[in-house]
Amino acid sequence: MKKLDEMKRLKLLKIEEKGFYLMFYGLVFVIVVQAFLNDFKDIQEVILPMVLLVIVFVYFIIVCFKEGIWSYQDVNQKKSIVVSILVGIVGAFIFGYKLYLLNRLHVEYLLMIFLIVTILMYLILIGVNRIYVKRVERLEDGDEE
């Protein structure tokens, strides 16, 4: 049997890419669902998959940054705000559920959590975007050899 030609190699790369995202987000989904089903009691049950996720995520970020890659699209403030708000909503939902289980669910707490998570996420994204922009500038202005 012949080895893969260039077209098939590209197809395989696309398959691997989709497989990676399926696995990554699937794992995130499974961890969240498991945590909800256990009412966030037994963190030990999800700690190993979480560690694996973090390792993969950190590897991804480091290698992408090294190559001057961050996103398929332009990095801008509007997107950072939208992503921060979405993460804030998810964070408020997860913590809100925990508060509900502890019978301490109040709207003020939810709002506070939403604001804290949103602002934190926004600051992280702004920091990461700055590092990315500096890295790209360094690569683009580098030596030609």
């Binding site: 190559e67 001057g68 790209v136 690569l139 683009e140 202005d141 580098g142 030609e144």
Partner: protein, 67 residues
């Protein structure tokens, strides 16, 4: 892959930096650098764009002699 000296020479003859050529064909300077070093095979679309920017033909810049 061997270095693409023809492309480098064509760029030099037009007095263009890698960055200027990169901007002309809408890619990053790293991509142009990797093509010249022979570390990346561009798509035919990018090859054509580079040829247009350097006023050369595909054969001039991307022909490889049989080994």
């Amino acid at each position: 892959m061997s270095k693409n000296l023809a492309m480098k020479a064509a760029r030099a003859s037009k007095d263009m930096t890698q960055k200027e050529l990169a901007e002309a064909v809408d890619v990053s300077r790293q991509t142009i650098n990797m093509i010249e070093k022979g570390e990346y095979n561009p798509t035919i679309k990018l090859c054509r764009a580079i040829c247009r920017a350097l006023d050369k033909t595909l054969d001039d810049l991307f022909w490889e002699e049989d080994e």
